[in-house]
């Protein structure tokens, strides 16, 4: 082994140790200052139509029934608190749910886009997760792409008459995985690999974040099902109010 190789090996060992001591598996919030200015603006612009649509749909809901404003605000607070609760785990590492998949199933994908951006702002201000310049990219991956996929899969499973709990598991888990893929692609677009370009870079990011994100997606799916089971047992009337269980079902 040459001197250089030894040096790299040492560096790799340091990083392996770092992985070992910081198993913090948060949802992948892109940090403040990480993206070049071009991408901050592009992702913000991509989010805009979704946010505008979400804003108008919210406005319509509220003008039809003023009372719904507190329920919508509570839904936002609920998503925030769910995402800030520590998931119980064996090693004592800190992992959190994203909560947006569950939010999309319960409240619909349209409402989650606006609630999602507000929750992301509070996560940046109160939890130091994410940032203001990366808000556009984070909003797209966590408040738009992920919830849309979750909602779509949930509806699809309903159509195909898959068991409701399986559908919820799939919706929450795949929505989470999709968020992680979108974030990896966002990172790869901003920092393409020297030899393989954007695709190679995307594969690298996917591989590096897989050990934390894949188990997290499965846990998120399981927990979403447990939450829904709890709700179905104790709070049928509230769920009917949200439109989750159609009147007369079950």
């Amino acid at each position: 082994m040459s001197k250089n190789q030894k040096r790299v090996l040492k560096l790799a060992i340091v990083f392996a140790v770092m992985f070992g001591i910081t198993p913090a598996a948060n949802a992948m919030h892109i940090m403040e200052g990480y993206l070049p200015p071009k991408y901050c603006i592009i992702w913000g612009a991509i989010c805009l139509p979704f946010l505008v649509a979400g804003y108008f749909s919210l406005k319509k809901t509220i003008s039809e029934n003023r009372k719904s404003i507190t329920i919508i605000a509570m839904a936002g607070a609920f998503i925030f608190v769910i995402s800030s609760l520590k998931i119980p785990s064996v090693t004592g590492s800190c992992s959190h749910m994203t909560g947006t998949g569950l939010g999309a199933i319960l409240f619909g994908a349209g409402a989650v886009s606006i609630l999602g951006i507000i929750v992301l702002i509070f996560q940046a201000i109160l939890l130091a997760h994410g940032g203001l310049t990366s808000l556009g990219a984070n909003t797209f991956s966590m408040a738009i792409a992920g919830p849309l996929v979750s909602f779509g899969i949930y509806k699809l499973c309903q159509k195909l008459k898959v068991h409701r709990h399986v559908g919820i598991f799939l919706a929450a888990a795949i929505g989470d995985l999709f968020t992680y893929c979108v974030t990896s692609i966002q990172l790869a677009l901003a920092y393409p690999s020297e030899t393989g370009g954007i695709a190679a870079s995307a594969v690298k990011f996917l591989a590096v974040f897989a050990p934390t994100q894949v188990p997290l997606a499965i846990i998120e799916g399981i927990l979403s099902v447990v939450i829904i089971i709890g709700l179905e047992t104790y709070a049928k009337s509230e769920l009917t109010g949200l439109g989750f269980i159609k009147a007369g079902e079950k």
């Binding site: 990480y34 507000i118 509070f122 509230e238």
Partner: protein, 300 residues
């Protein structure tokens, strides 16, 4: 350029040392908390940021000034992309938060270290490359393939780390000295739609109500062996989350009635302290921003 690399490496080593030390401290703190009763355990990093922002000695500065100063600094950091600018920003923000704001250095570091894991992993990913042939300046044979990197890539990664920390510390200067309600006030002043500001105001208040609820439920679950093993604790977690939704819906109705009873007609108006803009402060910060933006051209 060698200077840049040395600078960044020193920074990286310091970072790792701080991280290790911080982790030990956190573990000890967690253990101490577990030995006490659970009631004191409802705090996390996030509540502490809210708490510090109210306790900060520079809370009296005008919030519009603070927010625009922080945003301008973040934008300067990512547009200029210069290691010296980043370093100056890191030092200046530490000075503002620790010396002027009166926050303990240890607490400041622990807040700054929250995103460290993500930063280090993602920068590591940018720096390395994988291929079947040893193509870079540094190659590591892994059996079937090589992990390799270039000197330029290493340098890019280290500079990126400096930049991210500068931007994060500028943001933290804002969040650690400006309570959320004042930040929302600034957003309203900048003509964000009224409905969204309204929702933000409510969500901010509801977050603390729900956190209180969840802390209470967690306490009672703990006292009934709700977390005795992993399977039970997942069940408990799910039940708490589900219950929380039910309670939040019930409370939402009650709050609407309460607001209605106080003549709510679509606008929440809060008392806002008028904070004078300190002219000296504005002049010196604008000077600082101008200095930073011409800095790259002076040094070359």
């Amino acid at each position: 350029m060698v200077k840049n690399v040395i600078l960044s490496v020193i920074f990286l080593v310091a970072l790792i040392l701080i991280l290790l030390k911080e982790r030990k401290y956190c573990l000890r703190k967690c253990r101490a908390n577990n030995h006490q009763h659970g009631a004191s355990h409802k705090h996390g990093e996030w509540i502490s940021i809210d708490f510090y922002s109210y306790a900060s000695q520079i809370r009296g500065w005008n919030p519009v000034f603070k927010v625009s100063f922080a945003v301008a600094l973040v934008i300067l950091c990512i547009v200029l992309d210069n290691p010296y600018v980043s370093l100056i920003v890191i030092i200046a923000m530490a000075y503002l938060t620790i010396v002027r704001g009166g926050l303990a250095a240890r607490e400041y570091l622990s807040v700054l270290m929250i995103p460290a894991a993500f930063i280090i992993i993602s920068i590591f990913t940018i720096v390395i490359d994988i291929s079947k042939e040893p193509a870079g300046h540094f190659n590591l044979h892994m059996g079937f393939f090589y992990i390799f990197t270039f000197k330029a890539k290493l340098e890019q990664g280290l500079l990126l780390m400096l930049k991210v920390f500068a931007a994060v510390s500028a943001l933290q200067m804002m969040t650690l000295s400006t309570p959320s309600s004042e930040i929302i006030y600034v957003l309203r002043r900048s003509h964000i739609p009224k409905l969204i500001v309204e929702l933000m105001n409510m969500i901010y208040r509801f977050i603390f109500i729900l956190l209180d609820v969840s802390a209470k439920m967690k306490n009672s679950a703990l006292s009934r062996h709700g977390y005795c093993d992993l399977k039970t604790s997942w069940h408990t977690f799910g039940r708490i989350a589900g219950n929380m939704l039910v309670i939040s819906l019930k409370k939402a109705n009650a709050y609407y009635d309460a607001m209605e009873a106080r003549c709510y007609d679509g606008e929440l108006v809060f008392f806002e302290e008028y904070k004078k803009i300190d002219k000296k402060l504005v002049i010196s910060s604008v000077g600082f921003l101008i200095f930073l933006s011409i800095f790259p051209w002076i040094t070359i």
